[in-house]
Structure formats: C-alpha cells, structure tokens
Symmetry: C2
Subunit: 392 residues, 2 copies
C-alpha cells in the first residue's frame, strides 16, 4: 500500500506570503525522486490552536506527516509544543541535544544564550533527528496512524537533514520504493499549446507520462516514468527528440554552461546589444569568461543596417541584438563565412521576459551555428519578419 | 467577527513541486493589504476524491475559501466538477459564458475547440465571475458555512480577476475592513541579525510590528500597522530611518528605475565590469538607456590598479568592477573630482548572489555620490579591505 504522505508548512511569514515557500516544493520533488508521492500540503501560521487541531486531525488520516518550520529559539516557534499538546504528552529536556548545542557554541568561543535551551525541549518519547548544520534538531513522534517528522525551516538545514537522516529512515519505515524517474528537456522557441498538440496525440510507451512547464525563455518537457522499464523510457526519449528536433536547448537542467560551454571554448566572441539590456552579456559570462560584451544605445533597428554595422564593427565571431524597431528587433550572428540576421517580433510585454527571450534567441543562433544546424528557424513564440544572409 | 479565510491550491504540478506556488503567496498578500488575513492554506493534486473531501470538510469550518487552478479545458481540470459533487448538485451549461468564449475566439478569427465548452459548465446556481483576459471564468458557490470562489491558475488571469471582480465582492460580503498598512524599506549592506539587534531592542509606537526579510542583495524591513494611527506609523517610520540612515536604497518596492532614475538623468555613464559578469550593465539598463556598458576579461584585481586603469580608460563619470583578487574585488567610481576605489570581500558562494551584491555595491557608490553622501561606508555583509581616493 502506498503510504499517505502529507506536508505541513508553518509560520506567519509563509502563510501571509511574505516569503515564498520553496521548502514544500523541494520536499515534494525530493520524495518523488525516491518514489514517494506527497498527497496533500497544509500551510498554517504560528497559531498554537490551529497547529494542535491540524496535528490531531492528520494523525488519523496520514501515515507520514513532515512538518517544516517552527523549531527556532524564539517565542513564535511552537511546533514541538503544539505536537506535545496534540498527543497529550509533556515536553522534556533532551540532555544529549543540549550538550550538542553547548558544544557548537563553545567551538565558536561563544556562550550559548539561555533561549536556545528551548530547542532541546522535545515531546516525551520523541526520536531525536540530528541537525549537523544548526541548533534546531529534528525529531519524530508517532501519534495514532501517523509518524510526524519535524524539520527546520532554514532551507540548507532542511536539505542536509533530509539527505543524511530522514530519507534513510523512510526506507526503513515504509520499505524501499521503486523510484520513479523524471527526465527533463528544455526547448526554445516552441509554444506550450503547439507542443502539446503535437505530443499529446501520439501513443507513448506504457508507464510514461508527459509533463509541460512554460518557463520563459524555455519550455520544459518532462518524461515521467512510474514503474516503466528502462527500455520504455529510452524509447519515449527517442520519440520526443524526433519530434522536437533541433529545438532542444538543454537536458536535465537549464545550465547554459553545461550545454553551451563546450561549444564556446573556441576563438573569443564579441557581443553587442541594446534591446536586451545587458542580458546577453550577463548570460554568456556565466558560460565563459573569455569574451567581450558591450551594451550600447543607438544600435540599428533594421536587419540589413545591423548586419552591415556588425561587419564593420567586429573582428572575429560576434553576436548583436539591435534596437527595437517597427518590425521587431534584429538579431545578428557574424561568422567567418557570413553575417546572418533575423528580425524577431517579441509579443511579451514584461521587460525582463523580453530581454531573456532576445538573449536566448541570439545564443540559439550561435548554438545552431556551432553544432552545424540551420541558424535561422521558425520559432512559434518569436515570429520572424525578415531573414538576411550577408556575405563577408 | 473576523471571517475565516482559507486558500486551496490545486494541481499535480504544484503538489509535486514542479512549479512553485506563487499564486498563494500573492493572494495572501493582496488580501492582507485589504485587511483580511488568510488563516490556512491547502494544496491538493488533480484528484477528484481528495478535492471533494476537502471542499466538503472546509465548507463547515471556513467563511471564505478561494480555490486556485483546475479551470482549464483539459481532462485534469476538475475543480468545478469536484465542487458540484461536494455540494450534491449537477453541473449546468452557462450559456452566457459559452457566448463570451465563442466571441473571444471569433475576434481572433478562430473556431472555438469543442474542449472549451467544458469551461462554461458550472455548478448549478453558481455566480459567474468574469475573466476579462482568458477563457477560464471564475465562479462563486455557497455551501454550508462557506462561500467558495474559484479562480484560474494563470497568474495574470488570477490577478486581473481578483482586482476587478473579487475584491469588490469581498467588501460586499464581509464588510469593509480597516485595512492594515505595510510600508517597506529596502536596505543595502546591513546584515539581518545586526539590524534586528539594533531595532528589536527599541520601543516602537503601539500597533506597529516590524518584519524582516533577507533577500539578496538587499534586506527588506517592513513596518506593519494594524489598527495603528497614521501618526504612529509616521513616527515609526522616522524612528526607522534615523536608525538605518543612508543604507536606505528604496521604499515600497525595489525598483531601481524609480529610486535611481531621477539621479541618473545626467551626463552619460560608462560601466566596465568583470567579476560581476554583465550584471551591473544589465541592472543599469533597466534604469536608463543612455549609457555604455562593457564586460571585459583581464581587468585589474587590485584597488590602485583598477582606479588608475579607470582614469586612463574612461571619459566622464564611470563605474568599474574589477577581477576577483586575493583581497576581494575592487569597485571604483570615477567622477570629475576624483576616483574612489574600495576592495570588497564577498562571502557568499552562490555565483548569482555574488554578482548581484557587487553590482548593487557599485550602484550604491554612485547613488551616494549623486545624493551627496559619503561614497565608501561600512557594509556588514561586504567587508572592505582597502579604500583609496585618487585625485584626478
């Protein structure tokens, strides 16, 4: 039987939206990679009665509840207290953790503040879960049907504790799971609806699910294999790549250094840009240090003008993103052979989205050139009004 | 009586952490600005029985439940169907919304796909809520104690619907609230712990709460006034500004164009950078178009060398961020009077955080110069190892 797994995020800052709860998403993903699927998520503030009520209720309905946050030393950190109240047991001092905290402080030549003693007060009978990187220990408590695991809200502490302490325990408590596998593909230039029209109508191998996520400037397509054979996943991947062709920008993660770095270790590149702000330069500088990037105002806003300007201005391979003109923004790639320019229309209004799209469109021309593909292709999301190739 | 307000986020993509749920945080903040506080948040996947069970349960415990997502045309969009099942009523076609959708399509010279008809199927008796920017209409249903409001998952559609349709209804249903007021202050260079040590020990006017959020490259301090008088808030603001002094970078929102734009409409600036990638250029290009930005490799990594290089290289006012050296990264401001350079140590390891901090440190030198403040000051988070002023 699949265990019912639930997450509880605590804290007024999360509940009121002052901070975005990235821990819950990370926990869900990390558990999914291990083959466990989170069923429900709850978010409550630093309110004792709301927490007690929720813990009591979930103790009858879930097998595992991972609680995040509320383990700090201050008065609004009440997770342990609320758990003890829900279970009808007292808090008691964990002498071992008190000694660990005192040692952490003395190693830094500091006296432990009295307020930290609170972090060693755990519900009676709780199993301590070590926090190698902080003073908020975790702990596990069983109540009714559920095991509750309490974790710190600081993301780096949560992650360390999950990897080193909690995931190994889950395997013991719930048995090894057949881990589901997710493969990610980042595509540039296709629209989500166009892509799903093409892919959803196909037959896919058994056990394979497709997922989409539009995340400018790219679209992420996921192949999710649950209980599928490695052969089925490999077959699905071939099928996907045959369909999306050269629009594939990166696999697994959108790390331009990984996907473009090997291609860019060549003769130094020069970049000129206007409509993209400094975004193209900033992006390329995450890939390689050996290039020059220039933001200039007053660049041409028409394809032929930009191409000729670039031929006059650059020595060696270069990219240019011109000014915004009535037809769109001209984007040019200069190589030893010729200068290719296309004018792209950007429909998005958000300034940052526009800059990102233009920067990645220029990078995509370079990527296509370096991998010997056609440099100017149709992009669903960036209609092209003009294409020119000027001989050198 | 304060109404009990709850949010429900739906969708496998949110539940599994494939996308971060920014809608819930936005909704909480927007409601809080109107004086309504969200009490609990729930996240469930595209599972009919989980949704039905949750809607039924919350209908007895909440006054208002805002449900986000699951209104699209595809088979995994089941919010309306689950609500109808929870209430024990059928779905029925809303002829008005069907006509609206058909018109939206014909305005774009397209035929409405049959799958869209589903978006006009609402629980019997539901109140339609217009979506001016999409095909997913919202709707409101009363069940037991609660009013349920269904909203689309696309952030721009959600936001438009909230502003134009839902917030005005809330005032009708629950009465005008005494809106709490939040003022935000963005500070650069101070650490969160240093700041809270200085501020938390002070007495603050009645009804004023302080909030902190470290969000690189700045720290946000909030003054939250609940039922406090305008005088108390003004007094708290004076008190805060007296303490943080010239570290204030922006108010209300971290929009460099608003806070620095008026200062930058002067003679054109030139920027040179290396350790910050293209981040300084990219940031300044969001403020003004009339400047030049250059990313170069091989810039000096020592304060005096960078200052002298900048004096030789720039005509007119200029900023430079050098290479990373053993002492840190030199950052220089050249004005008509002199060249000021400081070497800053960046402790953060994340490359993007490092770039942002260096870029904002350089901008902060310019901001201080243009507002006639001392240009080089102590930053808690960027220790300075050397300061130089070279005469021109």
């Amino acid at each position: 039987m699949e265990p019912v797994i639930e997450l509880v995020s605590t804290g007024d800052e999360v509940l009121t939206g002052l901070i975005v709860d990235t821990n819950a998403g990370w926990l869900s993903q990390r558990l999914l990679e291990q083959g466990w699927q989170v069923r429900r998520r709850f978010t409550v503030g630093d309110d004792r009665s709301d927490l007690v009520e929720l813990f009591e209720q979930r103790s009858h309905l879930a097998d595992l509840v991972i609680v995040n946050g509320g383990l700090g030393p201050t008065s609004d950190d009440i997770s342990a207290e609320a758990m003890a109240a829900a279970a009808g047991i007292p808090l008691e001092l964990n002498e071992h953790w008190l000694a660990v905290m005192q040692e952490k402080y003395s190693n830094r030549n500091r006296q432990m503040p009295r307020s930290n003693v609170k972090q060693a007060m755990l519900p009676q009978g709780a199993e301590l879960i070590d926090n190698p990187v902080g003073t908020a220990c975790g702990f596990a408590v069983r109540l009714n049907r559920a095991i509750f695991i309490f974790t710190p809200g600081v993301p780096s502490e949560l992650k360390t504790m999950m990897e080193q302490e909690i995931i190994p325990r889950l395997a013991t408590w719930f048995g090894q799971r057949g881990a589901s596998e997710v493969r990610r593909f980042f595509l540039f230039g296709l629209s989500e609806s166009g892509l799903s029209d093409r892919l959803d109508s196909q037959d896919w191998p058994a056990g394979i699910t497709l997922g989409y996520r539009a995340s400018l400037p790219t679209i992420e397509v996921k192949l999710i294999a649950e209980q599928a054979s490695p052969e089925a996943l490999a077959q699905a991947e071939r099928q996907l790549l045959a369909e999306v062709g050269t629009h594939l920008l990166a696999r697994d993660e959108l790390d331009f250094r990984r996907s473009l770095g090997p291609l860019l270790d060549m003769q130094p590149l020069t970049v000129f840009e206007e409509a993209s702000g400094g975004r193209l330069t900033d992006t390329i500088s995450t890939i390689t240090a050996e290039f020059e990037g220039h933001y200039l105002s007053g660049l041409p806003d028409e394809a032929r003008d930009l191409g000729e300007w670039l031929q006059r201005s650059a020595r060696g391979p270069a990219l240019a993103i011109g000014a915004e003109g009535p037809q769109g923004v001209p984007v040019a790639l200069l190589t030893a052979e010729h200068c290719q320019v296309q004018t792209l229309k950007v429909h998005f209004r958000d300034p940052l989205a526009r800059r990102k799209l233009l920067a990645v469109a220029a990078l995509d021309m370079l990527r296509r050139h370096l991998s010997r593909q056609p440099v100017m292709v149709d992009y669903d999301i960036l209609p092209c009004s003009e294409r020119l190739t000027l001989p050198c």
